[in-house]
């Protein structure tokens, strides 16, 4: 399957379009309404972080299939990438309540809990790429 959505995030509207695209894809993939909300919320968090801390970047949402595991799994993958300032203290930002902007600091640790898989790569001065997957059950 090659269906995917790419959303540029450089205004607040990008945040809204990204999460709406995510919800639609999640619905089409067969996720229930709780997981749809989880996926849309995770996208909203990642998109807002791009807007707030990197000014611009991109959210890619796509269907994935894991054919290697004994029971083949399908799901939705979110990739959030930017060429912003990057994160040097990844361990800190994954703590509940850590924020540099007066937010709740719930975003990144929240995304990790909302999704099934979470991966973050970031180099200070170069940018950030975060990947998160939710599997259909």
């Amino acid at each position: 399957m090659s269906i995917q959505s790419n959303v540029e995030v450089h205004t607040e509207w990008g945040i809204v379009s990204a999460r709406q695209a995510g919800r639609n894809l999640a619905k089409d993939a067969g996720f229930g309404n709780v997981d749809q909300a989880r996926i849309a919320t995770a996208i909203s968090e990642l998109a807002r972080n791009i807007y707030l801390y990197a000014e611009k970047g991109e959210i890619v949402i796509q269907y994935v299939e894991d054919t290697e595991s004994p029971v083949s799994k399908r799901g939705i993958k979110i990739i959030a990438k930017d060429k912003g300032p990057g994160i040097s203290n990844i361990r800190d930002v994954m703590e509940d309540g850590f924020t540099t902007s007066g937010g709740l600091g719930a975003g990144l640790p929240g995304v990790k809990r909302l999704m099934d898989e979470f991966d973050i790569h970031s180099t200070a001065g170069e940018g950030t790429e975060i990947t998160a997957i939710k599997w259909l059950r």
Partner: protein
């Protein structure tokens, strides 16, 4: 498939079938052979091999439909997927042996058609495997639905007051289902108070407590209130010994006390009817 091969298969049909039948009896999974009476398995084997040969002259669609129907039937009867895969492999062996033993077919020709037969056999195997995995998925789905119903019946005992009896071990997966069912139930019954009864929960460790606390928080967010009831003495001991903080919970020792509190919270109470004459006798 090349017409000459199809023709060959048809003219040799009887031999192929009998060769295949003796072959399949050798490869039949031994567990299966024991379970299924001989006549039944002989019949199924015959049907299977005839179907394979028949599928050669059907359109792809019609062949798919027939094969799926047959596979569905065997899935229903509990035959394993290995019967099909080994059956198809046996068929390929028999076919190639038959061809190479025939004078009229050159070995070059056998070699040329080898690939074609390979593809054909593989596509049938794949198709049947798909059918099987589809039905596994739906079995898993059914089990999940059954679990969902089993794990979380929110019972509306009074207007605005519901009870959620928890029975058995609570793992993360089940805790999620319970939470979803409680919340949906609250909306459906417009419950203002939910009593979570843990009388039937054998162990309350930190993980179970964590799930209970999260459920209570979610209940509050949708606009209802939660009371934890049915805390047995040994559970109270472990909770305190583990240092679990349930102070945010309203708790009551028994379901009855909980119901009373629930009614109080919704400005009602149970009263005893004093006048004997008005009492409705149950007999």
């Amino acid at each position: 498939m090349q017409p000459s091969i199809v023709e060959m298969i048809y003219t040799q049909k009887q031999d192929i079938i009998s060769d295949w039948l003796s072959e399949i009896n050798n490869v039949m999974p031994s567990g299966l052979a024991k379970k299924i009476p001989n006549e039944a398995s002989d019949e199924t084997n015959k049907k299977f091999v005839e179907l394979i040969i028949e599928s050669l002259e059907l359109t792809e669609e019609a062949a798919t439909e027939k094969l799926n129907e047959f596979a569905q039937h065997l899935i229903y009867l509990g035959w394993p997927l290995s019967y099909f895969t080994q059956g198809m492999q046996a068929f390929r062996r028999v076919l190639l042996e038959t061809m190479s033993s025939m004078e009229s077919i050159s070995s070059k020709k056998v070699f040329e058609t080898f690939y074609e037969i390979e593809t054909w056999v593989d596509s049938i195997i794949n198709q049947i495997a798909d059918e099987y995995s589809g039905s596994w998925e739906s079995t898993i789905h059914l089990q999940r639905m059954a679990l969902k119903e089993l794990s979380a019946p929110l019972i509306p005992v009074f207007e605005k007051v519901s009870v959620m009896p928890l029975v058995g071990t609570i793992d993360t997966e089940r805790a999620k289902l319970i939470m979803e069912n409680v919340l949906d139930g609250i909306i459906e019954h417009r419950s203002q108070v939910v009593l979570i009864d843990i009388t039937g929960v054998p162990v309350v460790d930190t993980m179970v407590a964590h799930h209970l606390i999260q459920t209570a928080e979610a209940i509050r967010l949708v606009g209802a209130e939660c009371i934890l009831v049915g805390i047995r003495p040994e559970i109270a001991q472990t909770i305190v010994n583990l240092g679990i903080d349930l102070s945010k919970f309203r708790t009551k020792s028994s379901l009855r006390r909980g119901v009373e509190t629930g009614l109080e919270l919704t400005q009602r109470k149970i009263i005893k009817i004093e006048n004997d004459d008005e009492r409705i006798d149950s007999r």
